[in-house]
Symmetry: C2
Subunit: 638 residues, 2 copies
C-alpha cells in the first residue's frame, strides 16, 4: 500500500455491511454444461416446523442473487484489484475480437496520459480493451440469430430457473416423510400475463430464441468480463435498475463504489452510473471493474461535460469519442436520446413541466440552436457500428417523457415512442441489442396505454420504465408513488423497472435511500411476477407465509427482502431471543393472536372429530386439488 495514495488505501475494502452474507444464507453455484459456467444463487436455510404444528422439515429456498462475489466468504475482495474476469475465456474462444494496444478514443488516451490523475485512477490490472475484429459482430443478438447458444445464454437460463427443480425434489421428499403442507408450497395462482409467453422452464434454447427475436437483451459488453450474465425481457423475471452517480455538488468515487456494492446486495440487477461531476471517467473505471452486474450510462452527460456544459457546442465527433471511450471501459448499455426530433420539440411548449429528461433537454437545446435534426438521429447507423463492435446495448431514452401527471401520454411523448420503434428496427438490422425507456409520471389509468403502445411501436423490444409515478403530490415518498406504477407496468409487461428513491426531486440519494429504493422496486417487480403468473414466483411467498403461520420468526425475517429491518422492527417491541420462538407477537399479545386461535381451531376440530365439518372438508379435498377455482397446480408432481 502506498502511503501517498490515501484515497486508494481507503478504498481497498468496501463497507463491511455490504459483504457480510445475509442471515442463514449461503452462496451456492450451479454448474452448467462446462465447469466455467458457475451460476450464483442464494440458498436460505429454514428451521423445522415446531413439533406442535407437525414438526416437518422445511427445505431451503433458492433466490436470485445479484450481489456477486461480495457475499461469498470464499472470495477475496479488494476493490483496488477488481473482480475476476469470469467471461474472459468465453469471449476469447469465440475468436472474433482483437486486443487493442490501448484506448482508441482520444479522450481515453488523454486521461491515461495525465499523471495528475494517478491518485484517483483505478490501480488494478489495466486490461487492454477489446473490439470486434474487422467485419465481425460480437453481440449476443448476432450469435443468437446464427443459432449459437453462448455460455452467457446458458448462464442466464440456469439463473432464471432459480434451482427450482432441486427445491421441488426436496419438497417431494418432505411430503413422503409426512410433511402435510409440502404440496401447498408448490402451488400458485395462474396469472394474467397480457400475452407474454413464459415457459415452465427456461432452456438455453429459449433464451437464444428470445434474444434472437429481440424480445430480450443480455447486456454483456466484451470489455466487462467481470459481469455475471443476466437477461432483460418480458418472458423472464422482472428486473430492476438502481441509479447511482455524483453531481458537481457532492459525493466521492469511494461513495459511488459503495453505493454500487450496496445496491447489488439488496437486489439491483443493473446499475446506472449517472455521474455528472468531475472525474467521471475514473469513477466509471472503479465501478465497472468492481461490478458483477451490467453497468449503464448516459454518455451525453459526459459529452456535455467535455464542452463545458454548452449543449449547442456538442458535436457528433465528441459524442462518438465518448461512446468509444465508455464502450472500451466496459459499459454494458447506453441511454441514447435519439428520438428527440426537432419537430417534436414544439409539442412540449404547452406542457406543465416541459422536458424533464436531462438528455432530452440537452438534445432539444442542441436541435433548436442548430435548426437541424439531432446528430444522434442522423448518425444512428454509425452508432450501431460502434455498439456491435463491443456489444454495448442501446437503451433508447425517452427524452420527452412526462415530468408531471399533467403531461402524461401527450403527443410529444407518444411521437417520440414511435420514433424509438423506428430506431429499434435499425438497431436490429445491425444485430444490435436494444431496449426502450419509458415514463415517468403517469396516473394509473393511463399506464397500460404506455405498455400497449410500446409493444406495438417497438415490436416487443423490452421496455424499461422509470416508475411511473402515479401522483405528483408526495415529494419525499416518490419511491412509493412510483412503486405503485412500477408494479402495475411490470405486470403489464415491462421487463426492467428503474428505481426511484425517496430523495427523487429533492436531493441526491445516500445509501439508506438507495436501499429503500431497491427494496421498494424488488417488491414491485416481485408483485408483477406474481400477477403475471411467472412460474415459481409464488414459492417464496408460500414459504414465508408458512413460516409466519408457524411462528418461525427467524425464517420469516430471513425469507423476506430485508431480513435486517424485519428483525429490527420485531425487536423494537419484543427484543428477547425467546420471543423469536414465541407463539404470538407484539401486535395482539398472547391472548388475542389470531394465528394461535386458528391453530386451536384446527386442533379443536380434529380432536372433537366434528362429523359434519369433516364431511365438508373431505368434499373440499377434491375441490382443493384444482386450487383457487382454476387449477393452478403448476408444480405438483404426483
Amino acid at each position: 500500500m502506498n502511503a501517498k495514495e490515501p484515497f486508494i488505501a481507503a478504498a481497498a475494502r468496501v463497507d463491511a455491511a455490504a459483504i457480510e452474507p445475509l442471515p442463514n444464507s449461503r452462496k451456492i453455484y450451479l454448474e452448467g454444461s462446462r465447469p466455467d459456467i458457475r451460476v450464483p444463487m442464494r440458498e436460505i436455510a429454514q428451521n423445522d416446523t415446531p413439533t406442535a404444528f407437525g414438526g416437518e422439515k422445511n427445505p431451503p429456498i433458492f433466490v436470485y442473487d445479484c450481489s456477486g462475489p461480495y457475499t461469498d466468504p470464499q472470495a477475496d475482495i479488494d476493490i483496488r484489484r477488481g473482480l475476476p474476469a469470469l467471461r474472459a475465456g468465453w469471449i476469447a474462444e469465440r475468436g472474433d475480437t482483437q486486443t487493442l494496444p490501448g484506448p482508441s478514443s482520444a479522450y481515453g488516451r488523454q486521461r491515461a496520459a495525465d499523471a495528475s490523475l494517478d491518485a484517483l485512477r483505478f490501480p488494478g490490472l489495466r486490461r487492454q480493451p477489446l473490439r470486434a475484429r474487422t467485419g465481425c459482430n460480437v453481440t449476443q443478438l448476432h450469435y443468437a440469430r446464427r443459432g449459437i447458444i453462448t455460455p452467457e445464454m446458458e448462464f442466464v437460463a440456469l439463473r432464471e430457473n432459480l434451482n427450482r427443480a432441486a427445491y421441488l425434489e426436496s419438497l417431494r421428499k418432505t411430503g413422503e416423510n409426512g410433511g402435510k403442507m409440502a404440496a401447498l408450497l408448490t402451488r400458485q395462482h395462474p396469472g394474467q400475463s397480457f400475452g407474454a409467453s413464459i415457459p415452465q422452464d427456461i432452456t438455453p434454447e429459449f433464451v437464444r430464441s428470445e434474444v434472437a427475436r429481440g424480445r430480450a437483451v443480455i447486456p454483456a459488453n466484451i470489455n466487462h468480463p467481470e459481469a455475471e450474465p443476466m437477461i432483460i425481457g418480458r418472458n423472464f423475471l422482472t428486473k430492476i435498475n438502481a441509479n447511482i452517480g455524483n453531481s458537481a455538488l457532492g459525493s466521492s468515487i469511494q461513495e459511488e463504489v459503495e453505493k454500487m456494492t450496496w445496491a447489488i446486495r439488496w437486489g439491483g440487477d443493473t446499475v446506472m452510473d449517472l455521474s455528472t461531476g468531475k472525474n467521471i471517467h475514473e469513477t466509471r473505471e472503479w465501478i465497472v471493474r468492481n461490478s458483477p452486474v451490467p453497468i449503464g450510462t448516459v454518455p451525453i452527460y459526459q459529452a456535455l461535460e467535455k464542452v463545458d456544459g454548452r449543449a449547442e457546442a456538442l458535436t457528433w465527433e465528441i459524442f462518438r469519442d465518448t461512446l468509444i471511450e465508455q464502450a472500451e471501459q466496459g459499459v454494458d448499455y447506453f441511454t441514447i436520446h435519439a428520438g428527440v426530433l426537432l419537430r417534436y420539440i414544439p409539442l412540449t411548449a404547452h406542457r406543465m413541466t416541459g422536458i424533464v429528461s436531462r438528455g432530452g433537454s440537452i438534445m432539444a437545446k442542441w436541435c433548436l440552436a442548430h435548426h437541424t435534426e439531432s446528430f444522434l438521429y442522423t448518425h444512428f447507423e454509425e452508432m450501431c457500428e460502434i455498439m456491435k463492435a463491443y456489444d454495448a446495448a442501446f437503451s433508447l431514452g425517452d427524452g420527452l417523457r412526462p415530468g408531471s401527471i399533467y403531461d402524461a401520454n401527450d403527443d410529444a411523448q407518444l411521437a417520440e415512442l414511435k420514433t424509438l420503434g423506428e430506431l429499434t428496427d435499425i438497431a436490429w438490422k445491425h444485430d444490435c441489442q436494444v431496449f426502450i425507456e419509458g415514463p415517468g409520471h403517469v396516473p394509473m389509468h393511463l399506464i397500460k396505454e404506455n405498455m400497449d403502445l410500446q409493444l406495438k411501436y417497438c415490436r416487443e423490444a423490452p421496455f424499461y420504465t422509470l416508475g411511473p409515478l402515479t401522483t405528483d403530490i408526495a415529494p419525499g415518498y416518490d419511491h412509493i408513488t412510483s412503486g405503485i406504477g412500477a408494479a402495475m407496468i411490470g405486470w403489464y409487461g415491462t421487463a426492467m423497472l428503474c428505481y426511484v428513491t425517496p430523495k427523487e426531486h429533492l436531493g441526491l440519494p445516500d445509501k439508506n435511500d438507495v436501499k429503500e429504493g431497491i427494496i421498494t422496486y424488488k417488491l414491485a417487480a416481485h408483485a408483477a411476477d406474481l400477477a403475471k403468473g411467472h412460474p415459481g414466483a409464488q414459492i417464496r411467498d408460500n414459504a414465508l407465509s408458512k413460516a409466519r403461520y408457524e411462528f418461525r420468526w427467524e425464517d420469516q425475517f430471513n425469507l423476506g427482502l430485508d431480513p435486517d429491518r424485519a428483525r429490527q422492527f420485531h425487536d423494537e417491541t419484543l427484543p428477547k431471543e425467546s420471543a423469536k420462538i414465541a407463539h404470538f407477537c407484539s401486535m395482539c399479545g398472547p391472548h388475542f393472536c389470531s394465528m394461535k386461535i386458528t391453530q386451536e381451531v384446527r386442533h379443536f376440530a380434529a380432536e372433537q372429530g366434528i362429523a359434519e365439518n369433516e364431511a365438508i372438508a373431505k368434499g373440499l379435498e377434491a375441490k382443493a386439488i384444482e386450487f383457487v377455482k382454476s387449477g393452478a397446480e403448476i408444480y405438483r408432481k404426483v
Copy 2:
C-alpha cells in the same frame, strides 16, 4: 392540577409537533346555510412565480383537513377537557333523542363506579349518553330516506368540494392579469371510474341521495358530537383509516391519544382504536372525547377481554352489553364479523395461513366449541336495533380474509363476502348504515375480482379494504406492498383504505410508523382519485408540478403531503436558504438541470422566432384545447 394525578397532568397537552399549523398554511372555515355549519379546510399559500418565468400570482390551494381544532391557532387545546361538541345542537334540534341518566350498559356502570380508575379516567365533562327515543331511528340513512338533508350532509358536501369554486375564480383573475399558465392548472385527465357516478359538484342533495341508497355512509354516532362529519362512498374522495391501539404488551393511554392526534394531522379520515390491553374502556373515552374524526372499534376484542380470553365463554349478552357500552361512549362504527358462519370454517382448513382476522378466529373458535351458528349472525336484527338507536354504523368484518397470497380469493373468503351482502340487506331494512370490509393479501391480478364481487353481492355498499398486500415477501415494507394494492382497489371503487404500517406482521407501530402508513395511504388514495377522474383531484398535482418547474422550492414542499420530510431531504444536500430560490437542485447541479434547460429552450425558441416551430405550435394550440386527446377541460370557464 391535582398532584395525585400525574397521568392526567402530563396528558393536558398533546405533542407540540401535532398541533403546529403546517408551513405556509392556515385553517379556514367555510360557512354553510347556517352559522353553525363551519367546514374546516387547509389553505396553502403560494409564492409568486419568479419574474424570469413570468412573475404571475399563484393563488392559494385548498386541501382536505382532518386535523380538527388541533391545527387551529385560535383553538384552546386541552385534552383533559376534550373537543367542543359541534354537532350537539343539530342532534338536539331533531328532537328524536333522549338523554339517559347514565350508562345503560352493565359494564359502563361498573367502570363508572370503580374509584380505583379515577386516576385514569377522562376528567372532562362527562356528558350523559343519548339514545333514540322509543320508536325513533336516528341514523343518517333514515333521515336521508325520508328526504331530510341534515346539517351533517350539508357539511359533507361543502367539505368534498374543497372550496374549488374560489380557487377557480382566483385562477380566472390570474389569467385576466396575464398569467399564462392559469388555464393549464384547471385541466385534468378524464379518468376511468369503472361505473362510479361522480358529479362535477357535490350538492347536499347528492349526499342525501347517496346515503339514502346505501352507497355512502356518514359515520356519526349521536354520542360523538365532537366529530366533524365526513363521508365514505365511492362517489366521494377516497378516504383512509389509521389503526391505533395498545396490546397487553405495550403503550399507554397518553401514547394512544397522541397517535390519534398525530394520525389526523397527516390525514387519517377515521381512526380505529384496536386496543386489546388493559383499561380499554378508559382509553377509548379519552380518544373519542378528543377526536374530530369518526372512531371505529372491533367490540369483540373487548368482549373477549371480559371473559378472560376464552372465546368459547363469549355470549350474545356480553357482546350486546359491550356494543351498548361503546355506542354510548360515541364509537361511530363497529367492525362486526357476523359473516363467519359455522359452515365456512372448514373451508379454511386447506389454507396456507388459516384465519388471520382476530375477530374471525375468535368467532370461528366459538362456533366450533358450541357446534352452533355465530351469535353475531343469529342476533343480527337485534344488533340493528342497537345500531339505529345511536347511529353507529356497521363495518361488516371480513373474518375470513386471506392472510397470504396463497389464500387470496378462495372459497372461504368469497362465501363470507356473499353473506355480508345478505347482512347488508338486513341492515338497510332497519335504515342502518353499513359498509363492508375487504382483504388482505391479494396478488395484483386478483384484486379487481374482489371489487367486482363486492359491488355485486353488497349492492354498492361502500367497500373498506386492508391494503391489499400484493406480495408476502417484504416484511418491514408492507405499507408499500399494500399501498400498491390499495391504490389499485381504490381506483376500482373502494371507498376507504385501511392503512398498513411498516411494522405490519412484526410489531406495534410507533408514531413514525403511523405517519409513514398514513402518508403512504394518502398518496394511494389520491392516486386512486386521479385515476377515477375525481373532479378537481389533479388541481394539487398541477400546482405542485408548476411550483417544481418554476423552482419554487418552498411551494413544492408545502403543497406536498409531508412538507417536513420534503424540506429535510432537500436540506440534506443543499441546506442554505438561498438554495431554496436556486434555479437548480442537488440532483444534477447548476449545469445539467433539465428544467433549467427547458426554460432556455422556450426562451430560445421565442427569441429566435423559429418560424416552422411556431407554425407547428400554433397548429397545436387548437389541439391543446381539447387536452390530452379526449377533451378534459373539466373546469375551464372561459
